[in-house]
């Protein structure tokens, strides 16, 4: 179905008051860039209507989709989040996919663009991976001009399932992105999620992962680039509800111009989650005096037999690295670009092969 809702304000559309900066989760995140756009319903078709599905991947019927949609959101505790409510109220384009048990690894490419007409493209994606299923998703979300993307993705990973998920979100100066990526993992499953965002006036991504009984592997990689007056926010949550879970999380930021970057990384290790092994690192690179970075690990650890490491660094381009390149005849500008590209490459190289052609950050990294 295509959205036909008419509403004059974002509050009307979502049926809930906008998050206020008095709320801890929205303290650093100003929604002005969103409210500057008048909500207009999506007039295009279903961007995923002609999607070619690989072997072993089938669409859920409407009844099946209705039965499971929202479950992962509820289990990861975000069904009442404002961006999720907005998505539900905006009659999103829905796609539900099942990946059959024990299939050979399959690759899926999803790409959609919010256009430039100031419209709201709402997408709700539901992925169900049966035991031992394996799927690689290369997902591209973009906007060519004024536009808003509301993205809600749910993924349910059964025992021993593997999901390798790369999201590239390339925005424009008058576009906003609100995304929730909710994943529930059964024991033995492996999630690798790499999210890259750049160019949006406002982007807010909330990866939320629940290891329902622990004993799963979660790998999160994030890279957000802000410039001019852009604001990018990642609020991640990983919760272990059983023992022997693993998390390896790296979040990187480049903040240029008067850009603002927010990272909040919650990790919850309750009493049942003994022998959890979790590592989170947030690295931020400040390229200008006007840019601002707010980064916060938020570890709640109750279990006593765990390894939980976390770290946060905020730095400028290292003078020694720049000098080393300059001393080899490489000009200061090119040296800075090489260092930046290297810094980003750490995350970009983890994107699925199908995402390579999208060249995320190409504009930022290659322009002189």
């Amino acid at each position: 179905m295509v959205a036909t809702t008419l509403a004059h304000t974002w509050e009307d559309l979502a049926g809930a008051a906008l998050p206020s900066r008095r709320m801890e989760d929205w303290r650093f995140t100003d929604l002005a860039a969103l409210t500057a756009i008048e909500p207009r319903p999506w007039s295009g078709g279903d961007p995923m209507a002609s999607l070619q599905l690989p072997v072993g991947v089938t669409r859920l019927s409407d009844a099946e989709l209705a039965a499971v949609a929202g479950q992962t959101l509820a289990r990861t505790g975000c069904d009442d989040h404002w961006p999720v409510r907005l998505n539900a109220q905006a009659s999103p384009v829905r796609l539900g996919l099942r990946v059959a048990a024990h299939t050979a690894p399959q690759a899926l490419t999803l790409s959609f663009d919010a256009g430039a007409q100031g419209e709201l493209l709402a997408v709700h994606l539901v992925l169900q991976l049966e035991p031992g299923a394996s799927l690689q998703v290369a997902q591209r979300v973009s906007s060519t001009g004024v536009g808003v993307v509301s993205l809600v993705c749910e993924a349910d990973l059964a025992t021993d399932a593997r999901l390798d998920w790369g999201l590239v979100a390339q925005g424009q100066a008058d576009a906003a992105l609100l995304g929730h990526l909710a994943v529930v993992q059964a024991p033995g499953s492996a999630l690798s999620l790499t999210a890259v965002t750049a160019g949006w006036a406002l982007s807010r991504l909330e990866p939320r992962v629940l290891q329902a009984e622990g004993a799963a592997s979660t790998r999160l990689r994030g890279l957000q680039w802000v410039d001019a007056n852009q604001l990018a926010d990642t609020h991640s949550l990983v919760r272990f509800e059983g023992p022997d879970g693993q998390l390896d999380q790296l979040h990187k930021t480049v903040a240029a111009g008067a850009g603002r970057s927010v990272f909040n990384g919650a990790v919850q290790v309750p009493q049942v989650a003994q022998r959890t092994d979790a590592a989170q690192l947030s690295r931020s690179l400040l390229l200008s005096d006007r840019a601002r970075v707010d980064t916060k690990p938020e570890l709640e650890i109750v279990a006593d037999d765990v390894k939980c490491a976390h770290g946060a660094t905020v730095s400028r381009l290292q003078q020694e690295e720049l000098f080393y390149l300059q001393s080899r005849g490489i000009g200061a500008d090119q040296a800075a670009r090489l260092l930046l590209a290297g810094y980003c490459q750490d995350v970009l190289r983890e994107l699925p092969t199908a995402a390579a052609g999208w060249q995320p950050l190409a504009k930022q990294l290659l322009e002189p």
Binding site: S327, G331, A332, C344
Partner: protein, 262 residues
């Protein structure tokens, strides 16, 4: 190789420099002619590493007096990258690790920057690969190192070999090697010294900054300078290095004390 009529490549006159307002160099004089190998020796803190960084243009160091002339040109007014492009090379004591930047790409960009300055054409990926594979032989380096990030995860010896590989590609006119021998086992030292010897020619010059004689057993210098307290205290031939090896640096302190009293 000493030839009194060889052209002067680098002329340092009364060079003074400081870092964070702390004076380190107190008037260094040094003349290097084509074909010569010089060694600057001295204890830690004598200013020898500062001298190398000031010559290469490190931004943390401020020149407070004196002149440096490189092939007739005022070196001190040039950016570090311009100095490199006209043939000045600094081999780092601690080569910097640059994650995410491929060693091969780095070497290619650097080589092309130097070539373009000399009016040569830029090498494309294929032509450059041929060149780099040939030059790898100078330091007996495994081509696998080209695929890795610049110096990332390299051992001490591998980093120093990568420095000499860069030297082999950039073909400098004056190469300053800052403690290239530090942290090397004897095999790695032989390979690195062998590389330096292969690259030395009547048209270029090498300035070795070192603490120990052992590098000079493998690369024979024409001139040896002893540095202390930010100055060159004594200059001589290779025999001066042997004398230092025998007597240690204690006489330097005495001579320094005398100089200060005088």
């Amino acid at each position: 190789m000493i030839r009194p009529d060889a052209p002067v490549l680098l002329e340092v006159r009364d060079l003074r420099a400081s870092v964070e307002d702390q004076p380190i160099l107190h008037g260094v004089n040094l003349t290097i002619r084509a074909g010569e190998i010089h060694a600057v020796m001295g204890r830690n803190g004598s200013g020898k590493s500062t001298l190398s960084k000031v010559l290469a243009g490190h931004p943390a160091y401020t020149v407070t007096g004196g002149t440096v002339t490189y092939q007739g040109q005022n070196l001190l007014e040039l950016d570090p990258e311009q100095r490199a492009r006209i043939g000045l090379f600094l081999g780092f004591q601690y080569p910097v690790e640059i994650p995410g930047v491929s060693n091969l790409e780095f070497l290619r960009v650097a080589t092309n920057a130097r070539r373009q300055q000399g009016g040569a054409s830029e090498l494309d990926t294929f032509a450059f690969e041929d060149l780099v594979r040939e030059r790898l032989a100078v330091v007996q380096m495994d081509p696998a190192f080209l695929e890795r990030s610049v110096n990332e995860g390299f051992s001490g010896g591998e980093k120093k070999r990568n420095e000499i590989l860069q030297m082999a590609l950039l073909e400098p006119v004056v190469a300053i090697l800052d403690e290239t021998d530090s942290g090397l086992d004897i095999d790695a030292l032989r390979i690195v010294a062998g590389g330096v010897n292969q690259l030395a020619s009547p048209d270029n010059a090498t300035l070795l900054i070192t603490h120990y004689q052992r590098l000079l057993d493998l690369i024979t210098p024409d001139h040896v300078h002893v540095m202390a307290a930010g100055r060159i205290l004594r200059s001589g031939g290779p025999e001066l290095a042997h004398e230092l090896e025998r007597t240690g640096y204690d006489w330097v302190d005495q001579e320094l004390a005398l100089a200060e009293v005088g």
